[in-house]
Amino acid sequence: MIESLKVLRRRIRSIRNTGQITRAMEMVSAAKLRRTEQAWESAKPFYTYLRRLMIHLLFKEKEHDGRTSLQHPFLESRNEGVVCLVVITSDRGLCGAFNTNVLHRAEDFIQHRLGKREVVIYCIGRRGYNYLRRHRVNIIGTVLDTAARFEPEIAEKISAELQDFYLRGEISEIHLLYSRFVSRMHQYPYVERLIPLSRALIKDEEDTREPLSPIDYIIEPDMQTLVNELLPAFLRAKISISLLEAFTSEHSARMIAMTNATRNCAELLDELTLKMNKARQSSITRELLDIVGGSEAFRKAQE
């Protein structure tokens, strides 16, 4: 019994330490979450306006002859060739089911195309890389150790590399898989096709409120130059905004995971303290009984 009291004390101490660590991690994640969320919010207008401009231009073009007459590699749909899936995961764990959800979705994606088209992976985040490299898929590019801190250069690098692969014809479709942020409690994995650019991507549910009548723009210097400028800029903006959203999801997933861990520690601590008190009390009772019994026996012996 004495031994188990010692064991209980040791467990309580270690759980208390764990609780302090998870609590600290929770606060760190909360701070990072706030910063990332702000960066995401302030990056939204650029993407929103760029997308709106693209909708207007494509619609205007569509009015002329029913099909878009715009010429750009990003708009060509190629029905064969390699499909590239860009996967955004985290570098580090301790964030609940965040990575698992994304990687399950990635597996679905690969499985779905098995035997039809080859799938290659462009991987952001160490977790995804460590998991996917054990699968029979080619990983054509990686971005590791971003620490879920957004820098414009990261998006720059990713979109430049993807564009190169695409223009060289090594891949013919680009899909993006990342964790969408609904609220701090809810994020879900989501796949979007980036290239060929589809009307579905450009046109979101938000746009249904806006009138989509064709707009007769004055175009300068000419449509081709404008489109050549617009589409790569859109790709870059899309990747930036998705990275920011994924990082926001990651930080909130980690914050929630750590909040839960801290709460579990507190519960466990309560339980163990109760157990320890019981054990201590029973050992005291037993000692007292021993003493009483002993002195009783002693007195009897003296009589």
């Binding site: 990056a43 650029f46 306006y49 760029l50 004055i218 210097p221 130059t225 404008l226 400028e229 800029a233």
Partner: protein, 86 residues
């Protein structure tokens, strides 16, 4: 003089958002001026200086590459960077 809304937006944040009387911007086909009630227009932007005129002041920005859209009496300048010149 009538006014319209100008927004200068970079990938990281909105640099400027206010009503103005006119702007002169370095467009892909040369400098262009925009007054209120301009027809819808979309153009590329070259790196250079964007001059904004409003009531009693003139503000200048150094801007990078990008695009400019005029629509419904609103002008959006989407550039990779923009910095106000004091």
């Amino acid at each position: 003089m009538s006014e319209y809304t100008l927004r200068i937006i970079t990938p990281s944040k909105v640099i400027f958002e206010d009503t103005v009387e006119s702007i002169i911007a370095p467009g892909g086909a040369g400098y262009l001026g925009v007054l209120a009630h301009h027809a819808p227009l979309a153009t590329t932007i070259k790196p250079g200086r964007l001059t904004v005129r409003r009531k009693n002041e003139e503000i200048s920005f150094d801007i990078g590459e990008g695009l400019l859209e005029v629509l419904h009496n609103q002008v959006s300048v989407l550039v990779d960077f923009a910095k106000r010149i004091e």
